[in-house]
């Protein structure tokens, strides 16, 4: 309930409020047997793993005894139980070194969220009406089993589709094995801001289809193309820790940061130099830099190895990419390029990064390969102060450890749903049963066909803990525990230079009548019997985890134990296992998967420049990432650092542009592409190119708890279907728009003045 409503009511019902006080519901509640042996007032810290983003940080949770109002066997009552009170970073964890980002801190509110689904639900109204009725777990599981059994008996199991949010480790294995055992296509792990292009590029350049680990702590010079590595990209906490060291961790040595991007990100705001290159030309800039380095013989072309061979004309010294030549298209002065190129060569180890918007262009792959080549040329690959690739935990097939998914989830998902895809992927036959695990494609995808396709699926099961735009279509909801209530394991893809398995038991007893999805799926497999139960023989998830990670006992790592049980209990206490040997420094020229050279093509944008003069630049929100966290009040009220906006969404406009169009801060702006239109309040933003309109993702939910529903606008919905051809991932930074003022909007700003300098004081 909004504070204001609360007041309305309290104002009118003053007298009744006084009466209520006499009959407080707490008084009437019965007390259940305590579910804890904690000493009142004494806090214990228990390890856990953060699941808010794919970074896989290790956390430690402060648990204290307290009274919770819960329902047990249909009876409302009070129970003494261990309650999670605060989440901190796990000091021993090699990814985040005891630190944690705001989103990780806010994970606490997932568990205690008032709109969590508290028990199994069965659809009672029309699809999407949000009408459900409570059912027992037995019935729920039974229904799911019969549906799946029907599929397998009918030999139509290809008709089973599994769509989950990106996950790694055993939970992923479980889903994959289930799909495989049922003869269904592999699950799709979907998220809007996917890294298919970068993984593809890294696979081509270095033979590693995975995100890079940045050794910022030791690098002297960081050049980043659009990568908001301090905010949301890749493994932010690890990168923040490294950044701090890079700046002030070493006596008399302060690493520099140069950021190339058309819309200043949280990271760009920290840069010593911010270079607004034209979107889609980042690859050119990188090549121009390489060109300078080669022509001035600061590095030999051969140093780039395979990564260089992927760039046409590399061996010939990149004649086409002379700074003067590219100056026109990139908008970056040749002098600046030359200057940075020399700095790069002089201040080694220097690292070059690319992420975010430059990869979301039609020429994203080339941009990534260009940066890889530049990195290779500078000799930064798997060298101190450069980029590493986190090794997979020993004795584990890569598939089991790390996600190899070069093709975009977008393409995979559309194919899975039986829709035509931007790639060569052939559409599967429309699925009969859909298992949803916290993925929310209906919100995240501009493509309206996805919603229709899901609506057409005869039977949809959702395991997520909240009703969102996708799970609202579910026929059956089997709510998962919150992460704090479940066994979690994760295998960080990046952010650490050694093999890591994050693994932790539940930190508290379940608050509601929920069940851990892995346990449910194992139960389902058991009831299905046959191949499925053979593939998934474990009684519960802990057994499965033990079976999978137990063998690590033999490896040299953070846990030394004589017996399997000791090993397991130590792992539980430590919150995971990490190898004691770091990734080996590569010898000489970095290995490459090779493949045909990829030549530069000018980036394509949808909508012609005349009718749609602005380039629309959505970006991952510091508060909500791709929108999956918009339901947490702490994050809603956290002022986004550059805009200081709380509880809303906004469009960022360059001051000159705003003046030209007569747009004031807080005006309501209509942003239209060929695909659609949205309305949001204008924010005057000095750090954005005059022909670019920025907008954070995350708001504009039609259905996502009381805190996010109907709040702000969703930038994804006006994106045109433009794709990076090689991977078929969405070019979300390639849509042109036009804007117009349509009235007075509202912005809840925490910050007052934009500027600190007295010169501005005279201004109104």
């Amino acid at each position: 309930m909004e504070r204001r409503d609360f007041l309305k009511i309290s104002a009118v019902s003053g007298a009744t409020a006084a009466l209520d006080a006499c009959g407080k519901p707490e008084r009437q509640l019965i007390r259940f047997i305590p579910e804890t042996d904690l000493i009142p007032g004494i806090a214990v810290w228990r390890p856990s793993v953060c699941t808010m983003c794919p970074a896989g940080c290790g956390t430690t949770v402060r648990v204290m005894e307290g009274d919770a109002e819960v329902t047990r066997k249909g009876q409302l009552g009070l129970i003494k139980m261990g309650l999670a009170k605060k989440i901190e970073g796990n000091p021993d964890h090699p990814v985040n070194h005891g630190k944690l980002c705001p989103r990780g801190q806010a994970a606490l509110q997932v568990t205690y969220h008032p709109d969590r689904i508290r028990h199994p639900l069965k659809r009672s109204g029309a699809r999407g009406s949000g009408k459900f009725q409570e059912i027992s777990w037995e019935d729920g599981i039974h229904e799911l089993v019969t549906r799946l059994a029907a599929l397998s008996s009918g030999q139509k199991t290809a008709a089973l589709a599994i769509v989950a949010k990106p996950m790694r480790g055993q939970r992923r294995v479980l889903l994959e094995s289930l799909a495989h055992a049922l003869g269904a296509p592999p699950p799709v792990f979907f998220q809007f801001f996917e890294e298919a292009v970068l993984r593809q590029a890294n696979a081509l350049s270095f033979g590693r289809a995975q995100l890079p680990t940045l050794d910022l702590a030791q690098s002297n010079y960081v050049l980043s193309f659009g990568a908001d590595f301090l905010g949301t990209w890749n493994s932010p906490v690890a990168q923040n820790v490294g950044y701090g060291e890079m700046r002030q961790g070493r006596p008399n040595l302060r690493g520099k940061l140069i950021q190339v991007e058309a819309r200043m990100s949280e990271t760009g705001a920290n840069a010593d130099q911010w270079i607004p290159a034209r979107p889609g030309t980042e690859g050119l800039v990188a090549m121009a830099l390489a060109r300078v380095i080669l022509t001035e013989n600061l590095r030999p072309a051969s140093a780039a190895g395979g990564a260089g061979e992927l760039i046409p004309g590399w061996a010939e010294g990149l004649k086409d990419y002379a700074p003067e030549k590219v100056e026109q298209s990139t908008g970056v002065p040749a002098a600046t390029i030359a200057h940075i190129a020399r700095d790069l060569a002089a201040n080694s180890p220097a690292v070059v990064i690319m992420g975010g918007a430059p990869l979301a262009q039609t020429n994203g792959l080339f941009n990534a390969l260009a940066v890889n080549a530049l990195n290779a040329l500078l000799g930064n690959v798997e060298q101190p102060g450069g980029i590493y690739f986190t090794p997979a935990p020993p004795g584990m097939a890569p598939a089991q450890g790390l996600p190899i998914q070069p093709a975009s989830a977008y393409a995979a998902l559309t194919a899975l749903l039986g829709l035509s895809t931007p790639t060569t992927l052939a559409p599967a036959s429309p699925p009969q049963v859909l298992l949803l695990d916290e993925a929310n494609p209906v919100y995240a995808l501009p493509d309206p066909r996805v919603k229709d396709a899901i609506e057409k699926i005869p039977f949809v099961v959702s395991f997520g803990g909240f009703l969102d735009e996708t799970s609202i279509f579910a026929d059956l909801i089997l709510p998962d525990h919150s992460p704090l209530e479940s066994w979690i394991d994760d295998v960080p893809e990046s952010g650490v230079t050694q093999a890591v398995v994050s693994l932790a038991p539940p930190t508290m007893k379940p608050l509601h009548h929920t069940r851990a999805t892995p346990d449910v799926l194992l139960e389902v497999a058991h009831q299905l019997g046959g191949r499925v139960s053979k593939a998934l023989p474990w009684k519960n998830y802990e057994e499965m985890l033990q079976a999978a990670w137990g063998p690590l006992q033999k490896e040299k790592g953070s846990v030394q134990a004589s017996s399997a049980d000791e090993f397991w209990s130590k792992i539980r206490k430590q919150g995971g296992w990490w190898s004691s040997e770091v990734a080996p420094a590569a010898q000489g020229r970095p290995a490459s998967a090779g493949g045909p050279p990829v030549s530069y093509k000018e980036a394509q944008f949808s909508g012609n420049a005349k009718d749609f003069p602005f380039l629309f630049m959505p970006y991952e929100s510091q508060q909500f990432l791709d929108g999956s966290l918009a339901h947490l009040p702490w994050l809603q009220e956290m002022p986004e650092v550059l805009s200081s906006v709380m509880w809303g969404s906004w469009v960022e406009i360059n001051p000159q542009t705003a003046d030209r169009l007569g747009i004031q801060q807080g005006d309501l702006i209509e942003v239209s592409s060929t695909r659609g239109t949205l309305k949001a309040s204008a924010l005057v933003f000095p750090g954005i190119a005059p022909d670019v309109i920025g907008m954070p993702a995350g708001q504009g939910h039609q259905q996502f708890t009381r805190y996010a529903t109907g709040r702000g606008a969703n930038p994804f919905k006006i994106l045109d279907p433009v794709f990076e051809p090689a991977t078929g991932s969405l070019g979300w930074a390639a849509t042109r728009v036009k804007i117009s003022r349509v009235g007075k909007g509202k912005l809840a700003l925490f910050g007052g003045s934009l500027r600190e300098s007295p010169r501005e004081f005279g201004k109104r």
Binding site: L7, S10, A11, G14, S644, G751, G752, S753, R755, E756, P758, E760, F761, G762, R764
Partner: protein
């Protein structure tokens, strides 16, 4: 035109106490309902929380404190003015003093409520007072708010006594004239006054002492009110000019209020014979003087800030010169300086009664705005620009503000129904002295109605 005899005076002054017209009840009803509305608004605020006001961070003080300063300022009408006039033995003061002293007491009562109204937890206001409490702690005497508590209570006590003493003989008069319950009532108020030499002597002595004591108190009160602001390191609050600046403003608005009150009494109770254009002329001159003094302070304050050119202060300065308060600022100058100067510096306007009344009205409005502009803009632009904010009042604050004006009028009305609004014995004394010693019969004396109306010059209006 009625002749000027003590009997006539007795009648004229006592008439309002016994006869009450329907207009009185009508006005009283209207004012009363406004006051009730304000009361309801306050109760709502206490119930729902101070959040129903427009206050926010960083503007923690708004309309309420503005009203506080404004009314305390108005309270300087009476005691200060009448004390000055008594000490200087200005004869023309006689018909004026009581109206003035009455304003003081009620303005103080109303102003004094605001520090409580604006509290986040008003039901705990008594924690401000020093008394041995179970909380094992005494109030913090370093806090200007506590100085306020002491200053205002002292001033209230003093001015109530100052109002009461010269009224005792008049109560006796009413007692002798009245019958029934009034006789008892006024008999009680007059403390059994008979008018023996000893009583008269002591009374006059007491009045002389009070006049001497009350002056410095009045000055200190508004100085301390100004220190509520000056003691905080807020740009354009933290200034030494505030003490005298506030006192001057207080006297300024006080005189204005007095002129308005007198004009109303004059019309309502037909006291044209006693409150003559001459008094308005005198007070008008005083008002003009204070207006100029006030202008001088504004200049002194602004100019030093502007020359000092320190960025925090300039931020505030600009918000009133080129910011959202510009219009309000110049309107205030117009009300407090331009209008009074034009009207009061021209004799014809000043001598008419309407002239001074118009000027006084604008001054009262202008001074309220001045208090607002002293309080709000600095808070909106306090140091770190990131934490700047804006303030917009809500209906709750506006209602309560309106309520206080209504309350003031209502209290004054009721008072004028219970107490002779002109000090009868002082008038008579004055007449006699002038009658006996003709050298005293100045134009002034004539205007104060000391000689038969035949000799009176034709009234201006």
């Amino acid at each position: 035109m009625a002749a000027h005899s003590p009997e006539q005076l007795n009648q004229d002054v006592l008439r309002p106490l016994v006869r009450t017209s329907w207009r009185f009840y009508l006005t009283g009803g209207i004012l009363g309902s406004i006051v009730l509305a304000a009361l309801a608004a306050f109760i709502y605020q206490v119930y729902a929380g101070i959040g129903v006001s427009g206050l926010d961070r960083p503007v923690f003080w708004g309309f309420y404190i503005t009203n506080f300063v404004f009314w305390i300022g108005i309270s300087h009408a009476g005691t200060l003015i009448s004390a000055i006039l008594r000490l200087t033995d200005a004869r023309w003061r006689r018909p004026v003093t009581r109206c003035a002293e009455a304003i003081t007491v009620f303005a103080l009562v109303i102003g004094g409520m605001f520090p409580i109204i604006h509290l986040g937890r008003p039901y705990l206001f008594f924690w401000l007072f020093p008394y041995p409490s179970e909380r094992g702690i005494w109030p913090n005497f370093h806090s200007p708010l506590l100085w306020d508590a002491f200053a205002i209570s002292t001033y209230l006590t003093g001015s109530s006594i100052f109002l009461y003493l010269p009224t005792i003989p008049d109560f006796a008069l009413v007692r002798d004239k009245a019958k029934g319950w009034r006789r008892k009532f006024y008999g009680f108020l007059s403390l059994g006054w008979t008018g023996t030499p000893r009583q008269w002597h002591r009374l006059e002595m007491a009045m002389r002492i009070m006049a001497v004591v009350i002056l410095p108190v009045a000055v200190s009160v508004h100085t301390i009110v100004s220190w509520d602001f000056a003691m905080a390191p807020v740009p354009m609050w933290h200034s030494t000019v505030f003490g005298p600046y506030f006192v001057a403003g207080a006297i300024f608005s006080g005189i204005a209020a007095l002129i308005i009150a007198m004009a109303i009494l004059r019309k309502a109770f037909h006291l044209e014979e006693y409150l003559t254009p001459f008094h308005f002329d005198k007070l008008g001159k005083l008002l003009l003087l204070m207006s100029l003094v006030w202008g001088y302070f504004i200049v002194a304050e602004r100019l030093t800030v502007w020359y000092g050119n320190e960025s925090p202060e300039m931020a505030v300065y600009w918000s009133t010169q080129q910011g959202r308060f510009t219009h309000l600022f110049w309107f205030m100058v117009f009300c407090n300086l331009v209008i009074p100067f034009i009207i009061l510096s021209i004799k014809q306007f000043r001598n008419s009664i309407t002239g001074p009344v118009i000027a006084s009205t604008t001054v009262v409005i202008g001074m309220w705005i001045e208090r607002f502009l002293i309080i709000v803009p600095p808070l909106e632009r306090k140091y770190l620009p990131y934490s700047w904010g804006t303030y917009r009042p809500t209906w709750v604050e506006i209602t309560i503000t309106a309520g206080t004006f209504a309350a003031m009028a209502l209290l004054y009305m009721i008072f004028s129904k219970l107490v002779p609004m002109i000090s009868v014995w002082e008038m008579k004394l004055g007449w006699r002295q002038e009658a006996e010693s003709p050298q005293l019969v100045t134009s002034e004396a004539r205007l104060t109605g000391a000689v038969p109306s035949a000799d009176l010059p034709a009234p201006e209006n």
